[in-house]
Amino acid sequence: MRYMPPNTALALVGTLVTTLYGCQQVDQLLPFEIDPAQGQTVTVTANGGVVSLPPNFSIEFFPGSLPGSELVTAQQRLDAFPLDAGLSVPGRAYDVGPAGLVLSPSAPARVQIAVPDELLEAGDALTLSVAVVRPDNSIVTDATSYDLSNGILTADVYELGPMAAVVATDAIQIGDIADVPPLDGGAITPVSPPPSAGGPARSHPGGVVFSASCSPGERSCFTSGIAKIWVDDVVRQRLGSNLVLLNTTVEASIDFFAFNVSSLPDSAVGFFHIDGDLRARINEVVASREVGEEIAIFTGNGSDPNNPEATAISISGGDMTFEFTSQEDPEVIEFDVTGVGTSDLLTIQLEGEIEFDNGPGVPKTMGAIVAHVRLRR
């Protein structure tokens, strides 16, 4: 047997190991890695298309979203996103242009933003939304769905512009219907003496008007405390135990324009309307359900909520009975009046039903939703 010097043997072994190691395969790279800061420009036609900034952003235009060909740009946003929209998720803001381009209402574009859960605080998933800044600097937020398994936030947008994943700060926690506090009624007294000619205009001399208004773009319904919501077990069984109301808008006004000899109001005209997105976590998905028709009521026999008609009312304890409303006739609404400084706060309780489908031929399941709306005189 021929003798091989140790150094030669070592060199041979080293060469063999190096060769084998050098031949070890590494993973191929995907062919579409790009620098998000450089941005992307794609011509999107009326037939649709996708503009993306992998790995975190894409916007898909469906057939009909655009009336014709458009040069759509997408770029990582370097400027701070407006705070009004909520808390921005770090690194998830984009400028999508042409800013202000309005899309077809019947074919909105679908925005998807990667938001891994490590970017979120506990509970933020439920209020995660896509915010779009409009040319007039107002902000529209929307969230169709959030896939927790894959960390994909999906929303339909109707207009292009700066957009970002945000954690909404105006989410109203939904309570359990068993915890609805009782409303104890109180005195709604006419204004005396009647206003002078130069005073503030009222619908009727001596009348009392209570009103409330809040929305995401103006006064937040959450921070203002104007609205509180509760649901029953049926809703929780169908939608989950952890629920919030996002994008809440409250418009409410009630004008007690006539009083009886006991100084109790006996006629009123007004409306109460709450809408928003009821958000729930269902397994690994956060999804939304619009709430609107369920908690809306206006006085009178008319059909136009924008022009309510007057109706007779009576008050007994904590109950205010409206003779004619868009709901029941008569409709009994619980209320509570408290004095705050020189003003009064009227809290009214609105009750509604949420329908749940059970498939063809099976009666629907009805869940209950209760709202307290606080109006100020």
């Binding site: 395969q25 062919p31 794609v42 993306s52 069984q237 169908r238 939608l239 009821l278 269902i282 059970n358």
Partner: protein, 474 residues
């Protein structure tokens, strides 16, 4: 009960040749011996197992082979019997009547909470045949495994399709029972996804002897990739207002590729019919897939048929299996126009999309017509183009009785997989017909005295038929 859902269930639970067709390991002899068979492999088998045997065994061989096999993880054979209402697996599973397989709540209730995973490794010919019968797109090249060896050289060509599919219990329920808005809280996609790799390979082997007892062999392989597909289903988009769901599936495909591999082997004949054998497959290898990708996307809507929010009906109620597959539409992926789901799906496409190095070592004894082999196989963690059952220890025995050979064997795989196999061979002159098969499980009740059943849910089977012309050699 839905026809397509029944078909889908059958695809998952029935090891039909059309879909779950695979080769347990190359060669009918090896299959019959529980994955052993390397030590005294000969002819075309030797090209795969140990090219050194081309020199030691010599002779000539022309071989054509069909094999089928598949493995399900997450369910045992008894589970399948219970799910399908057939009773215990021990009570003659070959007597199960799959024509009666339905797909309803009683079936889906039996599916494990974490879903079911099916791994297959099928020959291109059988896969294409099965896909054609089922009206599905044909994957890969429809070629059977063929090979020829003369003396110490040989060449073998084969086409394979490897798949791994996982379906969550909830999605199976949705597909089986249709959409029910009252169940909207229960629908989730979970880990549902699939991966398929189809390729053809041509391997040339050469062996030589050193000193008469030591065989040294080398194999060189060219791989032609046909398709590499990564599929994934995303959590449903729930519209709680209209009480509908949208389930989107994405498949990203590379439509071609090429690669090579180098195998080496050593075999040493000791005394009294003893032989030791070691081999390495893909000692050096490379696989490059085309970067021109195609994205296939399909969206299925679940809704209450007849409701205003369901103008086109409930997809999960009205689509049959073929429609379900055909819903996927392919579009080339252009840079800068990749939706996030496509991008996320593509992330997994090229990850370890190559073949692992496999080391095998074995010892065997052969005297007269009797052969006993003990073989172990270790698979490198790098490279995912492999099967769950590739890493194992196999013990096999073969007994020739004039023109008839009886073979049996068993294997202990990684993660608790057990296999029990058997087979026969009929040799009429140079014509050899080999038939072999077996079952894979997490444990066999009747063999529990010998091998302790593992607490792992597996169910699988394999069947291989080979027709060979052989002559010369040992």
């Amino acid at each position: 009960m839905r026809h397509w859902a029944a078909t889908c269930t059958a695809c998952l639970f029935v090891l039909s040749p059309s879909v779950v067709a695979a080769q347990f390991s190359p060669g009918a002899r090896s299959v019959a011996m529980g994955g052993a068979g390397m030590v005294y492999s000969s002819g075309v088998d030797a090209i795969e197992w140990n090219p050194a045997n081309l020199a030691l065994e010599s002779g000539w061989n022309v071989s054509g082979e069909f094999g089928m096999s598949g493995l399900m993880s997450g369910v045992s054979c008894d589970d399948i019997g219970a799910i399908l209402g057939f009773g215990q697996c021990d009570s003659q599973p070959w007597g199960w009547n799959f024509d009666d397989v339905g797909c309803d709540a009683t079936v889906t209730a039996g599916i494990p909470d974490n879903g079911v995973t099916v791994s297959t490794n099928s020959e291109g010919f059988l896969t294409a045949f099965g896909a054609d019968k089922a009206g599905l797109p044909k994957p890969g090249l429809p070629l059977p495994t063929i090979g020829i060896t003369v003396g110490s050289v040989g060449v073998r060509a084969r086409s394979r399709v490897m798949t791994e599919t996982t379906v969550s219990k909830e999605l199976m329920g949705l597909m089986c029972e249709g959409f029910d808005p009252a169940m909207i809280q229960q629908y989730q996609v979970g880990n549902t996804g699939f991966r398929t790799t189809s390729f053809s390979e041509v391997t040339a082997g050469y062996g030589t002897t050193l000193g008469g007892r030591l065989g040294v062999g080398v194999g060189v392989r060219y791989v032609m990739g046909h398709s590499l597909t990564q599929g994934r289903f995303f959590e449903p988009v729930l519209d709680l207002t209209n009480e509908t769901i949208e389930v989107t599936g994405i498949a990203v495909e590379s439509t071609g590729g090429s690669g090579y591999g180098l195998d080496v082997g050593l075999a040493l004949d000791l005394i009294a019919g003893l032989r030791v054998s070691v081999s390495g497959t893909n000692i050096i290898q490379k696989m490059n897939w085309d970067e021109s990708l195609v994205a296939h996307e399909a969206t299925y809507t679940g809704c209450s048929t007849g409701s205003p929010s369901c103008p086109n009906g409930d997809d999960f109620d009205q689509l049959d299996f073929e429609d379900f597959i055909n819903r996927f539409e392919g579009e080339p992926i252009a840079g800068g126009s990749v939706s996030l789901p496509v991008y996320q799906t593509a992330q997994e496409l090229f990850r370890a999309a190559y073949f692992p190095t496999v080391f095998r070592a074995g010892a065997g004894w052969r005297a007269g017509g009797t052969t006993v082999e003990l073989v172990g196989a270790s698979v490198s963690p790098r490279g995912r183009q492999k099967n769950e059952w590739d890493e194992r220890i196999s013990l096999g025995v073969e007994q020739w009785l004039w023109i008839l050979a009886l073979r049996a064997g068993g294997a202990l795989g990684s993660d608790g997989l057990q296999a029990i196999n058997g087979g026969i061979a009929l040799a009429l002159g140079p014509v050899h017909l080999d038939v072999s098969g077996g079952f894979m499980s997490g444990g066999f009740d009747f063999a529990s005295g010998v091998v302790t059943p593992q607490n792992v849910e597996y169910a699988g089977a394999q069947l291989t038929v080979a027709l060979q012309l052989k002559g010369g050699g040992r």
